[in-house]
């Protein structure tokens, strides 16, 4: 896992594209509310109006400015994804390290638990939970994280098992290094590249889930989301709204998912020796 990240990463087209898109979205999320020309909940405009200088993407069926709505929707979708991704990563890393390092009964219990969770379709659990208990989006993102950690933990566990046999880890143990010391000082830092890949893939999945749940109408209908925007726009398929109302949230959701996919692919290519391209190696 000794990779010169700085040297390789910026030569990769996938990473550069993903990085640029991520930068654009980060700016949008941070300054979105300031960029929004109108309150996205303000229903005082003429419904289903085409774009004009004042309303860049026009007005939706509820008399709301679509551009302002889009800016807030991106924030909500991304926050949901980031929360789920980060928590799933945290839980997955801890469980993977503990299972891999301690082994034995702990490993067996944790990995069987992971197997059970892997067998359950996350989307079904989310739909049922959202429909029956109506948790807040934050709580729902945590529930999703609770269903997504197993794949991360399995990867981390496998890597931990390999690292456990490394000489420097064995030496640390011989000279009296405690379990947590070794995990914290040797194992955790060395697996950093895996975290990025795991985080990117889980965040991507969570954002798509959030949009799906919102599309199904399982969130508060006043909460802005790319999925909800798509759901409303689709119902007016028979009007000429696809390019200014339906297309923007679909494009943003696709770009968000693509951003993380590009980053995940590039990081995987760079960090996984088996996937290193000849070009990168020569560079």
């Amino acid at each position: 896992m000794n990779v010169d990240l700085n040297r390789n990463i910026f030569q990769d087209t996938w990473f550069l594209t993903g990085f640029l898109l991520a930068a654009v979205f980060t700016i949008t999320i941070l300054v979105g509310p300031m960029l929004a020309p109108f309150d996205p909940w303000d229903m005082s405009f003429t419904p289903i109006s085409p774009p004009c200088a004042k309303h860049l993407l026009g007005i939706n069926d509820g008399g709301q400015d679509i551009f302002s709505e889009l800016l807030f929707a991106i924030r909500n979708t991304v926050f949901f994804g980031l929360t789920s991704g980060l928590v799933a990563l945290g839980v997955g890393v801890i469980i993977g390290l503990v299972a891999g390092w301690f082994g034995g009964l702990i490993d067996m219990i944790l990995m069987r638990l992971a197997d059970v969770l892997l067998a359950i379709p996350a989307i079904m659990i989310l739909i049922l939970t959202a429909a029956l208990f109506r948790p807040s989006p934050f709580m729902l993102s945590l529930i999703l994280a609770g269903l997504m950690w197993p794949t991360i933990s399995k990867t981390i566990r496998a890597q931990t098992l390999a690292k456990r046999e490394c000489l420097h880890v064995k030496a640390a143990a011989r000279i009296g290094g405690g379990n947590w010391y070794i995990i914290r000082r040797h194992l955790m830092p060395e697996m950093f590249p895996l975290y990025l890949i795991g985080f990117a893939s889980k965040t991507r999945m969570a954002m798509f889930m959030e949009a799906s749940l919102a599309f199904l109408g399982l969130f508060d209908p006043t909460r802005k989301s790319l999925g909800l925007m798509i759901a409303y726009a689709v119902k007016y398929y028979y009007m000429d709204i696809w390019w200014n109302w339906l297309f923007p949230p679909i494009l943003c959701l696709s770009l968000l998912i693509m951003t993380l996919t590009f980053l995940a692919i590039s990081l995987e290519k760079i960090l996984d020796p088996r996937l290193k391209s000849v070009e990168l190696l020569s560079g």
Binding site: G62, G63, Y238
Partner: protein, 530 residues
């Protein structure tokens, strides 16, 4: 030569006219292969009295299979199984002369004993759409005459029994003890113009086949098919369906494609259900505050782009013959709403929301997307009402639910406020009993309000009053009290439209007062008969 030319031209013109007339008459009488009706929801249950869903489209699915004693067309009541009917006040009975030569779908002969049996069966196994409480019993006087005796004068008899009660075949149903569990094909044998062939619950499709021995004539289409299709513009334009409910803003595009557009009267209302059994909604003043906080026109403008009409707070539609034009109304007045809330002890917190005894005033609104004919629309009613309530200082938790879930919660009183809706507002004024009386069954949208004894008394009186003018006066009073009590708030009547393809030679229409109890759907079976 000139004369010969003239004769030839005249002969040719005559021949052309005869050909055209011949074709026209052939078209009028020929049976088309099939008629397809599009429906966005699809599944409305099996088409018999005990298996259809308790909403209008479910009843309409059944109406193709089962005939009633009388029926309605675009002008009013018409004969069906009964060719004539009279009311005898001395006997307290309705007397029906039945048509002769009527057959059931299985070929057996229909007779007055089937009508007597049906009355008894519905008294023993209640059917929510036909309240039999005021019917004492029925007696056959020969094979073609039936007397239905009442317990007391019952003004809505024709609207609620004679014109709604599907007549069941005695030879089949006499052996069925649990009608709700009957799956057998014999449970769908009727005297209606169409035989029930198949229902696919998953796909939401229904298939009916013409009953060529139908006593009112051969149906105009060999097969009648309901398909589940949520995009009426596309289904009508591509010929996938011949009739569909449409959104008002689709009308122009469909007109250009040669479709006929039907516009219905105001017979369906979107309604805010109030759980008046729990505080603070049990307080009339609080409910009135909610009514003052609501701006009906704003809901129509913002959530429906102006396609709708503000509803009467007295429930009956302004198009109803018994509508009271002096029904109290609540002009949108946030200041008045706040004044009432403050008189009830609510005080505003720093954020401008009301609190009482340190508890925030927070209401939950269940929102669902139902509209006329059980269709679903992209609905922002909940959002607009939330804004209106929050503008006066009431916090709102808006919950979007599927219609069936909302219905179930309302039925179990497991809600604060719920946005729902129902039709029947153009039918008999007994709808007021059905939608107000706490003992009423058969509707998930009834306010079930029993707190005002005077209202209950009037409701009881209006159904017993056989004099039209006296009944009108009672119904006027009911609307006034209902509007004052606001046990539920009628929000608006959505603009209701349907479109059909005239190429099949079928003329569809909206029924006078709605099908059955007042269903505002343009699928009257008589369109395929006469």
């Amino acid at each position: 030569m000139k004369n010969l030319k003239k004769i030839l031209v005249c002969k040719f013109a005559l021949l052309m006219m005869l050909t055209l007339l011949g074709t026209a008459s052939f078209t009028a009488h020929a049976q088309v292969d099939e008629i397809r009706i599009a429906d966005s929801k699809g599944d409305w249950g099996y088409p018999n009295a005990y298996r259809h869903y308790p909403r209008g489209p479910g009843y309409v699915r059944m109406s193709w299979v089962y005939d009633t004693l009388i029926w309605k067309d675009e002008k009013g009541y018409i004969p069906a199984l009964a060719k004539s009917w009279t009311y005898d006040p001395k006997l307290l009975s309705f007397i029906f002369e039945l048509n002769q030569g009527i057959k059931w779908h299985d070929g057996k002969a229909f007779s007055s004993s089937d009508v007597v049996f049906t009355v008894e069966y519905f008294k023993k196994h209640p059917y929510g759409w036909v309240p039999m409480g005021d019917v004492s019993g029925a007696k056959a006087v020969g094979p073609n005459k039936v007397i239905i005796k009442l317990n007391r004068p019952y003004a809505p008899f024709l609207a609620y029994v004679g014109g709604v009660m599907p007549i069941l075949p005695k030879h089949i149903w006499q052996n069925i003890n649990d009608p709700k569990k009957c799956n057998d094909s014999k449970c769908f044998i009727g005297t209606g113009p169409y035989k029930f062939i198949d229902f696919n619950k998953a796909k939401g499709t229904y298939l009916y086949e013409a009953f060529n021995n139908y006593y009112q004539g051969k149906p105009k289409a060999k097969r009648l098919i309901y398909i589940k299709a949520g995009k009426p513009l596309m289904t009508l334009s591509t010929g996938k369906a011949d009739l569909a409910n449409i959104k008002p803003d689709m009308a122009n595009a469909l007109k250009k494609k040669g479709m006929i557009i039907l516009k219905n009267a105001r017979g369906w209302n979107k309604k805010l259900m109030i759980n008046h059994r729990i505080a603070p909604f049990s307080s009339k003043r609080f409910r009135q505050a909610l009514a003052c906080a609501i701006n009906q026109q704003e809901i129509i403008d913002k959530a429906h782009r102006g396609f709708g009409y503000p509803a009467s707070f007295g429930l009956l539609s302004p198009d109803h013959e018994f509508y009271n034009p002096d029904t109290p109304t609540y002009i949108p007045n946030p200041a008045k709403a706040m004044e009432i809330l403050e008189s009830l002890g609510y005080k505003k917190d720093a954020k401008g929301f009301y609190i009482k005894d340190s508890q925030p005033l927070k209401v939950q609104i269940l929102s669902s997307n139902i509209t006329v004919a059980g269709d679903s629309v992209a609905d922002r009613d909940g959002e607009v009402i939330k804004q209106q309530f929050e503008a006066v200082g009431i916090r709102v938790d808006l919950v979007n639910l599927e219609q069936a879930t909302t219905d179930a919660k309302v039925k179990k009183w497991d809600f604060n406020l719920a946005i729902s809706g129902h039709g029947g507002l153009l039918g008999d004024a007994r709808i007021l009993n059905r939608m107000i009386n706490p003992k009423a069954t058969g509707s998930v949208n009834s306010a079930r309000f029993g707190a005002n004894k005077k209202l209950l008394k009037l409701l009881k009186e209006q159904v017993s009053e056989m004099d039209v003018e006296k009944r009108r006066a009672i119904v006027y009073k009911i609307q006034e009290i209902y509007a004052d009590e606001v046990p539920a708030i009628s929000l608006y009547y959505p603009a209701s439209m349907a479109a059909y393809n005239p190429k099949k030679g079928i003329k569809w229409y909206y029924t006078h007062g709605g099908i059955g109890l007042g269903i505002p759907i343009s699928q009257n079976k008589m369109s395929l008969i006469k």
